[in-house]
Symmetry: C2
Subunit: 299 residues, 2 copies
């Protein structure tokens, strides 16, 4: 098996052009460098440098190898810097998992202001929970609590799944229909309208329909757009209906570009939780993000 140190030495030779220089850079002896290189050359089965008078010139194979490993190797060398036992703080990286739509209307606007690095990861909730436990994620925003003992959940807001419409939709007429309390009428009126949906999940629409009409919706949305925020933007154009979490369109409802026309007979409401490991070295950063969330969600 190739010794990873050979790679480091190889890269340094490639950069410095001499074994002596490499030795100085890596704080090892020149014969050691020579040894590393010859070991690597033997291993890969190709000469990697042409030894000219003063300089090591990479061969074609050397160039190919170099390109194959510079990027990951450089990144790996960087890792060390973040772990030196030093007093100087380094900028940590926080990984947060949530659904795409939530990110767009909450954190996105603040990303550039964060005093640490951020990785947003989109995925489904059980997977996110697993990754949180494994340490791949540091914080998740989810409507479903997990059961792991290492993870603490904290509710911070609610989402209501509601029926919204563009401002040009005749909500007065719909109110009249609602007043009849006749499920058949209501359903029929709704099915007459133009509906929006997303490529991925129809979960909200299914649940909403199921809760209010006791069955699956027997129609397909007329327009399929990439995500829930696209729906909100489309509705803002004037017409159409969709079932979405209310917090995704608070501002649009407030300024009148979208109407909340029905919260449902039985209301569909989820609690939103923060989830993070109880033990974490990133409490400060996580709290920072939580604060931003609370600010955005409290309107």
């Amino acid at each position: 098996m190739v010794n990873l140190e050979w790679y480091r030495t190889f890269k340094a030779i490639y950069k410095t052009g001499t074994l002596t220089g490499t030795a100085e850079v890596l704080f090892i002896s020149q014969p050691g460098v020579s040894l590393h290189l010859s070991s690597l050359e033997t291993y890969v089965g190709h000469k990697l440098f042409d030894r000219t008078g003063r300089k090591m010139i990479p061969t074609e194979h050397g160039k190919v190898l170099f390109n194959a490993l510079v990027d990951p190797l450089t990144k790996l060398e960087e890792v060390e810097k973040n772990f030196q036992r030093s007093t100087e703080k380094h900028v940590p990286t926080i990984s947060v998992g949530m659904c795409f739509e939530t990110f767009q209307i909450t954190l996105e606007q603040y990303v550039s202001t964060l005093p640490f690095n951020l990785i947003i990861s989109f995925g489904d909730y059980p997977e996110m929970l697993d990754q949180l436990d494994k340490g791949i994620l540091d914080l998740i925003i989810t409507p479903k609590k997990g059961i792991s003992a290492n993870i603490e959940h904290e509710s911070f807001s609610h989402e209501k799944i509601v029926l919204v419409a563009g401002k040009d939709v005749d909500s007065i007429a719909f109110k009249e229909v609602l007043k009849t309390k006749n499920k058949g009428f209501i359903e029929e009126w709704l099915k007459q309208q133009k509906w929006y949906g997303t490529t991925g999940d129809m979960e909200h629409l299914f649940n909403f329909w199921n809760l209010n009409f006791g069955k699956k919706p027997d129609f397909r949305p007329n327009y399929i757009v990439p995500n829930l925020n696209s729906i909100v933007r489309c509705l803002s154009a004037g017409t159409g209906l969709a079932v979405v979490p209310d917090f995704l369109c608070h501002s649009e409802i407030d300024n009148g570009s979208i109407q909340l026309i029905w919260e449902g007979d039985k209301k569909l409401k989820n609690t939103l939780y923060f989830g993070n490991r109880k033990k974490t070295v990133h409490h400060e950063e996580i709290d920072h993000i939580k604060t931003l969330f609370r600010k955005v969600m409290a309107r």
Copy 2:
């Protein structure tokens, strides 16, 4: 300095959960694994695993470290596979440098059909030439020849920098103006029109104007779009003028959605070259790409 092998061992411990298992996976002894881990722990200054009865449980620091290094480390471990002295061929990766617009109208459509991996790199020509020499690129498409002895150039096509217009532009009128051969008239007529430009370089327009009017253009384009292909698409809508390389809009000119209204009094013409290292292990793949280019450029 950390020994990169410690990382490999650390990752394996994280994955297997035991030192013994790690030893088997890495073909080293269990005490060796123990040594690597304790060395790494000493170095980073934190315990990385809790030793429970049967399993190594990563500590918070262990999780953070793991996340910091899995990706690059895994990639680095992959490198080895591509260099084993084996008879089985592996899929090579070819790096090609060219300008963004050229890529879009030539290679883009064939990318999925290539029997090798491809990395397209966009940059300026001198830099690309340098990277070609260093082995970071394997092939470049450029209008400027370099001088390095290791690099061979081959002309394969030409580009004419021409004045094009949307189909609704009154080219008959412009022909009349051209007939006057009065530079002032021509310039005036052109400046009356709506012009397109790109965010980045105005080089084509500058050169064209300079060659035909002996000065810099004293107006700014009315519409600034991201790249030359955007210009072509915008012009296809009907109106507007732009100076672009002809090969970017061959098909649009042919089908009449764009008019080539002036090649200039003095023609602005570049030769396009392939550039690659004379010594390369990727001749076959490079020839494949060259063939595609010749096919696209010959119309």
